[in-house]
């Protein structure tokens, strides 16, 4: 029940601040565009790198989105107010992490058409690609929510969040890129299932551990 309440709260907050989502989406789109310039005009090279570019754009955009979602908790110390009610830190974490995962998945799905246009990347199995994006977004969201909370009170928080987050999400990034590449360029060796299992395993580990540590981060 508390989890549902926390999720409703974060969903409402994200809806009320949806203009920020559009700004993050624009940032992701510009990143994809810059990658296409950097890769040059070779169409085959662009197609080959499209999965990596898509996930890098999503990961870079995620730091902006995640940092913003935790700022709302600090403006009037709202999260302290909830903890003093008392609300369970774990419920607050999972509510926010689920809302962030949904936001990142939406962002990833919105970037796919742009990647298709810019990189001429084929999407033969859109539903499967959507599944990979959801799993990848979940893998970014859990540690991202935890580290956004950790870095939110630091003076150099804008730099600190990516510094903390990027090394931790490398396994998620690798498996998401590989799974996306197998979906777009073909999977003759039948490796997709293994990469998806790896991605789901990292998701499970991150969601379990980050939920445990969140209380220590937000409580003094």
């Amino acid at each position: 029940m508390t989890l549902v309440t926390a999720l409703r709260k974060d969903a409402l907050l994200q809806w009320r601040t949806r203009a920020r989502f559009l700004a993050v989406l624009a940032f992701g789109a510009v990143t994809l565009l810059l990658f296409s310039f950097a890769a040059g005009p070779d169409a085959a090279s662009l197609r080959r790198h499209a999965p990596g570019f898509l996930w890098l754009a999503l990961m870079l955009s995620s730091t902006l989105a995640l940092a913003e979602t935790f700022q709302a908790e600090l403006e009037q110390r709202a999260i302290e107010g909830l903890l003093l009610l008392p609300a369970s830190p774990r419920a607050l974490f999972y509510g926010k992490a689920v809302a962030n995962a949904a936001q990142l998945a939406l962002l990833g799905l919105a970037l796919v058409p742009l990647a298709v246009v810019l990189y001429d990347a084929p999407v033969p199995r859109p539903a499967a690609l959507a599944g990979v994006i959801v799993l990848g977004a979940a893998g970014l969201s859990a540690p991202g929510t935890l580290y956004a909370a950790m870095s939110s009170q630091a003076r150099a928080r804008q730099a600190l969040l990516p510094l903390l987050l990027f090394p931790l999400v490398v396994p998620v990034l690798l498996s998401a890129v590989k799974a996306t590449a197998l979906l777009t360029t073909g999977d003759p060796m039948g490796q997709l299932r293994s990469w998806l299992m790896l991605l789901a395993s990292f998701d499970a580990v991150y969601w379990s551990l980050c939920g445990l540590f969140f209380g220590r981060v937000v409580e003094e």
């Binding site: 029940m1 508390t2 309440t5 409703r8 709260k9 409402l12 907050l13 009320r16 601040t17 709302a72 403006e75 009037q76 110390r77 709202a78 302290e80 107010g81 909830l82 903890l83 003093l84 009610l85 008392p86 609300a87 003094e220």
Partner: protein, 246 residues
């Protein structure tokens, strides 16, 4: 979660502290504080800026942990039984504990849901009416003045119906009608038998509604006594503590 005046450990004092200390870096904000507040008492906590009033209330509310010593609220230890304390206390802090992007009604509804209380719009609007915000219930908190945020925070405290109420500068940022609103809130809490600790500089305000006074000086309890013995003007900065302690 709901805690009426009779909840908690019935025989214990509402607030009890012994050797309580809190350090920020190298500086001690609270030093060896000893307090005993009977149930149902309304206590004024006075002192200069930086004397430790807010820190004391935040430790008692479990917003921060004590560095040393112990404190019990409603019979529960603030360190070992934090959730029990939280379920029985409410803190009016300097921050309003609200989400700026959400409306006043939405903020109260979130609090009510976490407390497991009814959160119908009309009931919450009536609560906002009590603090003079009925007309602004659908407006985002980011459009509110500091005084309006304080009123919303007071409504939040009312919603909690806590056994022990900790008010940090409740008159701050308020206009004269707001002062009267706090006086009414204090009166209502007293009638309901709830225990109140109120930190304030404005000793002339609310003093007649308080039973006891505590003066903090440099983080230490420098004076305690009946609230009626607290002078009315500028006492926190006047050296009352030295005079009373000597």
């Amino acid at each position: 979660m709901s805690a009426g005046p009779g909840a908690g450990v019935p025989s214990a004092p509402a607030v009890e502290a012994d050797g309580l200390g809190r350090r920020y870096g190298r500086r001690w904000a609270l030093v060896d504080v000893a307090l005993r507040v009977p149930r149902g008492a309304v206590v004024m906590v006075a002192g200069r800026n930086g004397s430790g009033k807010s820190t004391l209330l935040r430790v008692l509310a479990t917003a921060i942990a004590p560095t040393r010593g112990r404190a019990r609220v409603a019979g529960f230890d603030v360190t070992a039984e934090r959730d029990e304390v939280r379920g029985r206390s409410a803190l009016l802090a300097h921050a309003s504990y609200t989400y700026e992007a959400l409306s006043a009604l939405e903020n109260l509804a979130i609090t009510a849901r976490f407390l497991g209380r009814p959160h119908g719009r009309e009931a919450l609007r009536a609560l906002l009416g009590e603090v003079g915000l009925a007309e602004r219930g659908d407006d985002a908190v980011e459009t509110f003045s500091a005084g309006m945020r304080k009123r919303l925070a007071l409504a939040r405290v009312r919603l909690q119906q806590a056994e022990v109420v900790l008010l940090d500068e409740p008159y701050g940022q308020l206009d004269p009608p707001g002062f009267r609103l706090v006086d009414r809130l204090l009166g209502a809490l007293r009638e309901q038998g709830r225990t109140v600790l109120m930190a304030t500089h404005l000793l002339e305000r609310g003093a007649d509604l308080c039973d006891l006074g505590v003066v903090l000086e440099g983080g230490r309890v420098a004076w305690t006594g009946p609230a009626a013995d607290l002078p009315g003007e500028g006492v926190a900065a006047s050296g009352l503590a030295e005079g009373a302690a000597s």
